[in-house]
């Protein structure tokens, strides 16, 4: 009675997933040219981060202002592999040291730094895309959550970490490409990622990965762990005295958020063709939080729409009225906090869903659908 049919997906979850799938896999690809589709693919890479934030912040109450770090690390790992492939000795023979990335040559490096070497291997790079950000998140998580640093302090420290990493990347331009980032990426194992066909295919790969992440996030939320996260957010002490080591749960969910962000970052690099510190620092990291907040900090599906809409608005507005964009974004921050704390998902739940359900109820007649209604309401949270 509580969980009708499937214990992981309520009816309204299934409807939400289905509508999103139709949008991503049918409507957008059919309705948009390759250029625009690629742009939406880029927006969707931010959705990975936003889903992670729903878990960390919406469910777990941990606000990280450093998700750009993990997005960036994932993206850089991918970019390093692609850059090495683009820097074959033949392609770079005009450099004073052929065979190393162009920015190293410009910075008078004469050989590839040792820590770049493993990124010749695609297997290693794909592995690194996930593992490096997760290990980094794990270290931060252990250090902070074991010592019960949370809330505001966690936000400020993660923000400082984002700032540190940005300064480091920009300062060490011989090793990282500096402020321009790693650019001019061409092929993946010989397959040209700049062609239209490749962009369409990458869009679908990105969409599929997004659904994998959504699915994992849904499983986490609907498991007991998901309920413990909510319990922890509201009454951390009570959870401790119910016999849980709270820190472990926070570390887990922070690492999961980092892994999602990293996949998004890697897909960003592949679809956009470069990675730079402007996706790592304070400003992008906090913008990622707003994607999540606009979508609704409690809804993973909402997070995807939030990422899509805010970025779409950003592109449109900053093309049409560049002066107004910052004002608009600032207003969105304030409005979402003051007036719509549950974002689009909250608006949907309060205004659209009851009407849909009423419609549904009318059609089905009265037999047993009252119970359906309850089940749906319970599971929709």
């Amino acid at each position: 009675m509580l969980l009708k049919g499937n214990r992981f997906f309520s009816t309204s979850d299934l409807v939400g997933f289905a509508i999103l799938a139709v949008l991503i896999f049918v409507i957008l690809p059919v309705g948009l040219d390759t250029f625009r589709l690629n742009l939406f693919g880029k927006y969707l890479t931010y959705a990975f981060v936003a889903i992670g934030l729903v878990l960390c912040w919406g469910a777990g109450g941990i606000l990280s202002l450093g998700q750009g770090v993990f997005f960036g690390l994932g993206g850089y790992c991918m970019a390093m592999f692609l850059k090495l492939e683009a820097s074959s000795p033949e392609a770079t023979k005009i450099q004073s040291t052929p065979g190393i990335p162009d920015f190293m040559d410009w910075n008078q490096l004469t050989e590839l730094p040792l820590w770049w070497e493993p990124f010749h291997s695609l297997t290693f790079s794909l592995f690194a895309v996930i593992v490096i950000p997760v290990v980094f998140a794990f270290i931060i998580g252990v250090a902070m959550f074991r010592r019960r640093v949370g809330g505001v302090y966690f936000a400020i420290i993660t923000q400082a970490i984002a700032a540190i990493l940005t300064i480091l990347i920009i300062g060490q331009q011989g090793y990282t490409g500096g402020v321009n980032g790693i650019t001019d990426l061409r092929t993946l194992k010989g397959w040209d990622i700049r062609t239209d066909d490749a962009k369409v295919l990458l869009y679908f790969v990105n969409g599929a990965l997004l659904f994998v992440c959504l699915f994992i996030a849904q499983l986490i939320r609907k498991s007991k762990l998901g309920r413990i996260l909510i319990a922890m957010r509201d009454q951390e002490d009570r959870v401790r005295f119910s016999g849980y080591d709270v820190a472990n749960f926070k570390i887990f969910v922070f690492c999961a958020g980092a892994a999602f962000s990293a996949v998004g970052g890697a897909m960003f690099t592949l679809q956009v063709g470069f990675m730079s510190p402007s996706f790592v620092g304070i400003v992008p990291s906090i913008e990622m939080v707003i994607f999540c907040a606009v979508g609704g900090r409690l809804s993973i599906i909402g997070a995807v729409y939030g990422a899509l809409l805010v970025n779409l608005a950003k592109t449109t507005f900053s093309e049409l009225f560049p002066e107004l964009w910052l004002l608009g974004l600032g207003a969105v921050f304030i409005a979402v906090v003051l007036a719509f704390p549950n974002g689009l998902a909250g608006l949907y739940k309060d205004h659209v869903e009851p009407r849909l359900l009423a419609l549904f109820k009318k059609k089905m007649g009265d037999d047993g659908s009252a119970e359906d209604f309850d089940a749906i309401k319970t599971a929709a949270e």
Partner: protein, 248 residues
């Protein structure tokens, strides 16, 4: 002086100081198996702090707290819970966003690791146990209600239920009947008397009628120290206690 093994809990020379202010000062007391100890004392006597120290919420400055020959002061809160000490807070502390069922489920003593929680399945033994406990704390009709919608007294019961499902050997309750109606009080006293049967308890309470109902022994705290200890009648007759409560 070594703790005596026939005690379930021995607290010796327990002290905590907050920037020089000793909220609990060289406190010693012993709880026997199946004993219900009630701690009373004026406001600021350090009653809640004692419970906080035993369950690991506050770190002691010095002293020993031994529970079944394990030193609790070196353990984390969750380890203390698993050792068999349950704690109820002064204000009812339940997960408002979750249902009564889910509140109890979280306290169910299984799947407490990260992966255990991920893999946790709501199987029949779990459901049976939750239903059983919900019945015991008068909430069986409200299992699928969000805890936020419960009355104050019902939240207190839910929290007691959350402790019961852990089946602790030592139950620590901080003002379990505070803010309850007379009827609820009576019901709660019966409930506590029933659940305290096969375990030990430490209860903080102001309501003397209630204390008389449940206490095996009473400890009176004053300024972080034991002022008097013994049966209710003994304590009530103690001139030092009368002085603290009525004097000045």
């Amino acid at each position: 002086m070594n703790a005596r093994p026939d005690f379930l809990l021995s607290v010796e020379n327990l002290t905590v100081s907050f920037d020089g202010f000793k909220a609990v000062d060289g406190l010693s007391f012993y709880v026997e198996p199946n004993e219900c100890r009630v701690i009373i004392g004026p406001n600021g006597a350090g009653k809640t702090t004692v419970l906080d120290l035993i369950c690991g919420r506050t770190k002691a400055t010095e002293g020993k707290v031994e529970f079944k020959n394990q030193e609790l002061l070196k353990m984390r809160e969750d380890q203390i819970v698993h050792a068999g000490v349950g704690r109820k807070f002064q204000t009812p502390t339940v997960y408002e966003d979750l249902t009564v069922f889910e509140n109890l489920e979280i306290s169910y003593p299984k799947g407490h690791g990260v992966f255990g929680a991920l893999m946790f399945r709501r199987d029949d033994p779990v459901k049976t146990r939750i239903n059983e406990i919900a019945g015991e704390v008068f909430l069986d009709d409200l299992l699928h209600e969000k805890a936020a919608f419960l009355s104050h007294g019902q939240k207190q019961w839910l929290e007691i239920g959350m402790l019961l499902i852990q089946d602790p050997e030592l139950l620590m309750l901080d003002e379990p009947v505070a803010g309850m109606s007379v009827a609820e009080r009576k019901q709660t006293a019966e409930l506590l008397n029933r659940i305290i049967q096969d375990r030990s308890g430490i209860v903080i309470e102001h309501d003397m009628k209630f204390v008389e109902d449940i206490a095996t022994r009473v400890t009176v705290l004053h300024q972080g120290k034991v002022l008097s200890e013994g049966s209710m009648a003994h304590v009530q007759a103690d001139p030092k206690v009368i002085e603290v409560y009525l004097g000045h």
